[in-house]
Symmetry: C2
Subunit: 453 residues, 2 copies
């Protein structure tokens, strides 16, 4: 771990070795690197190099690398692999990692993978697959170790040593043992830290922590992430509707959820998908981005249509054309600030029906101060620039109105989109811009037509 | 934990109880709630309610709640608390939590808190404070349990039981014990999972994992987060320049780093600070946002200045004013997509000098396809709308050029800003918009003046 202190060094070395055709040396270099580093480098290489490197990996490393890659690169490598190699690659994966990949494997490979499982592994696999990816059930491992409350710590230690002898290993990332009753219902957690430090003759139920409630299998991944964050958990038990223990979630999977969630918020604001590959084929990328450009083009034409209604005014007073983009864009900026705050507040569960009126009131207060401030500044600037007090008045009023409009739209749009079942992080910016552009042009050109012409 | 399944229910109950003046019942309600939930609710309440609730909390709960709050709300509550109460509130905090808060406490409180520490606690506190907040040293706990490699597992177990008896507890979130040599230099990790499941007569050095390298105290928090993510760590040892063990980082602190980092990226794109309070005083918020509006106003005036140079052209052909915002905004959209991808790629260490030319090449390819596609669509639309083939040609060419301009600016700007030491997540969007607006108007109006008039 951390040996490859410098990703870039490995990337540079590999590029050089591959270009020179030193495949054996490249293989050696890869063997001394760990899967996360290799995955990171694969994503940073274009496709022809990715495939070259992929061919050099052992089946086991391939599996470990595959699960670290983003979905699009995974799909590409799956498509390029022979079915029999793919079976070897994925057969050694942990149940939950395999479940994540499974749906995207070719039919033939899926059948072969299922075939190769023993009965116990297949049962555990089916248990994970029963729940959607983005729920606690989809995130959980099914290899939880559970003990009864009436056992002594000494018995638990002997039990763990026996499992270890028989199976060669304990579940990964085990920081606690789950305590269940006779009917496998969850009753508490025994931390390893307590197990190793308390007197061996005490019973599990005396020392377990019973105040930790289990996570229902259908809780959303987002909710699971929030719970882990708020309560600093390392692992948590997952139960079905009857409170029966069916698995456990470990924090390493939750970290991935948090990162993906954050990534999605960032990328979707620009109409991008977070799971996409920077070296996706050009035509594929172009198609995806064209959708977003198209949606925004409709927006832009809407604004143009508004302007067109005032062609006569612009013809008579061409300075309107010079100033109108300022009104529109400032409304957009003010709106984006409020929009970002509100979307984040909703995501953090801090803005809701209980305080939305207070938030609206505050945003209105903030933007009113700034609207007055900027209207004054702008009016002064205009008096100096164009020496036209009527124009200055119309321009600064329109700007102030569009700042207010932007802030109010930014506060309201996320709620409207939620009601409509649309993700505000994706569509919020577009809808906001449509509002601030069209209303900005309309307000300014309308006021100008009315007062100046 | 998780008892308060519904934050909103608690918020609603508290609001009702406080409004009705039932302080005793509100206190009881708070006593059955856990600190993260209370913190969450405090952030969602306006100031007068926050203070009311704060007064009802016990000093110990106050401490636990305080560390969960965002910095701005923390500062507000610190300012509202009497020094003697504040000392009580923070004295019980864990070393690393206290270190985070320390600088922001009033001088008097700091002195009293230091005074109240015993020698051992003060030494550990100074050790954490030696390192900046955003480094491994700033994130670490100093209460790591360390053993020697020649001890047997049995000895380790007895040692842990003795610490537990003497100190009443072991360090929080302990999943592994750190193995050191005589000079306290790090040599490996012994997982509790191995400790409880392997034969007691084996020695630590036989069963420890030596391949895990420790984290240098000065490694950045961001790098620490990436290591935890990539290697699915629950905890990691921190060492000084001489490889001496000085503490350990646990994943719960890393989760906070990841969340803050993601938050910062999202908020700074709108010129907002992630640590800010949704109920900050209106004037404070207005001032902060005015800075961003002001920067963008300069941008907008720059674009207006470009348009002004072509007033004569617009006067003669007013349709130019109708169409010019479309050219400018579409360039901005195309640019934002590339900008977002590149900033993220750099943050993930996947875009660097080694492949930037490939990335530029790909982005150029993608945008060329879309530029051609949209130029064609637009030209067709214009022929239908205005029946003017020259106008259609000029408009679609300008649009295509500004799409290319946007994508190239989006790819290059982050690198330029990094060189200048400016955070691209904060300034990238503004610089991009300045480019695509000014160049968009210039290209379209310039081409129109040359070819149409």
């Amino acid at each position: 771990m951390f040996n490859s202190k410098d990703n870039r060094q490995l990337a540079a070395d590999l590029a050089e070795l591959l270009d020179a055709g030193y495949l054996a040396r490249a293989t050696t270099r890869l063997e001394t690197s760990d899967p996360p580093t290799i995955a990171n480098i694969l994503e940073a290489f274009p496709w022809e190099k990715r495939l070259q490197i992929w061919q050099l990996l052992t089946p086991q490393t391939k599996g470990a690398v595959l699960i670290e890659l983003n979905e699009e690169v995974q799909d590409g490598l799956i498509a390029e692999s022979l079915p029999e190699n793919l079976v070897k690659t994925v057969s050694g994966l942990d149940i939950d990692d395999l479940a994540d990949l499974y749906e995207r494997l070719p039919e033939k490979v899926r059948a072969a993978v299922l075939q190769a499982m023993d009965e116990r592994r297949r049962q555990r696999f089916e248990a994970v697959r029963r729940y959607p990816d983005d729920t606690a059930g989809g995130l959980m491992d099914v290899d939880a170790v559970a003990v009864r409350g009436d056992a002594t710590l000494d018995t638990v230690l002997r039990y763990l040593r026996r499992i270890r002898r028989q199976q060669g290993e304990l579940p990964e990332h085990m920081d606690a043992i789950i305590v269940v009753d006779r009917a496998s219902r969850y009753i508490g957690m025994l931390s390893l830290s307590d197990l190793v430090s308390l007197e061996e003759n005490r019973t599990v139920s005396e020392v377990m922590r019973a105040e930790l409630s289990p996570i229902p299998a259908l809780a959303s991944a987002k909710r699971v992430a929030r719970l882990f964050e708020d309560y600093d958990l390392l692992s948590a038990p997952v139960v079905d509707e009857d409170n029966k223990l069916i698995g456990r979630i470990t924090v390493d999977d939750v970290v991935d959820v948090i990162r993906e969630e954050a990534d999605r918020a960032l990328m979707s604001a620009a109409g991008l998908e977070e799971e996409s590959d920077i070296f996706a084929p050009i035509v594929t990328s172009a198609k995806r981005r064209a959708v977003w450009l198209g949606i925004n083009l409709i927006n832009a034409f809407l604004a143009a249509w508004v302007i067109e209604q005032f062609e006569g005014s612009i013809e008579r007073l061409v300075v309107l054309a010079v100033l109108m983009p300022i009104v529109a864009s400032m409304g957009g900026i003010a709106g984006t600030q409020t929009l970002t705050l509100v979307i984040r507040g909703i995501a953090l569960d801090q803005i809701g029906p209980g305080n939305i009126r207070r938030i609206l009131g505050k945003e209105l207060g903030v933007i009113t101060i700034n609207a007055l401030l900027f209207a004054f500044m702008i009016a002064t600037t205009m008096m100096i620039w164009h020496q036209d007090s009527n124009l200055a008045l119309v321009f600064s009023s329109a700007l102030a109105i569009n700042l207010l409009n932007g802030a109010m739209a930014g506060a309201v749009i996320p709620f409207v989109l939620y009601k409509l079942g649309i993700d505000p992080a994706l569509a919020g910016g577009v809808v906001l811009m449509a509002t601030t552009d069209a209303l900005g042009f309309f307000t300014f050109l309308g006021l100008a037509t009315f007062f100046l012409l």
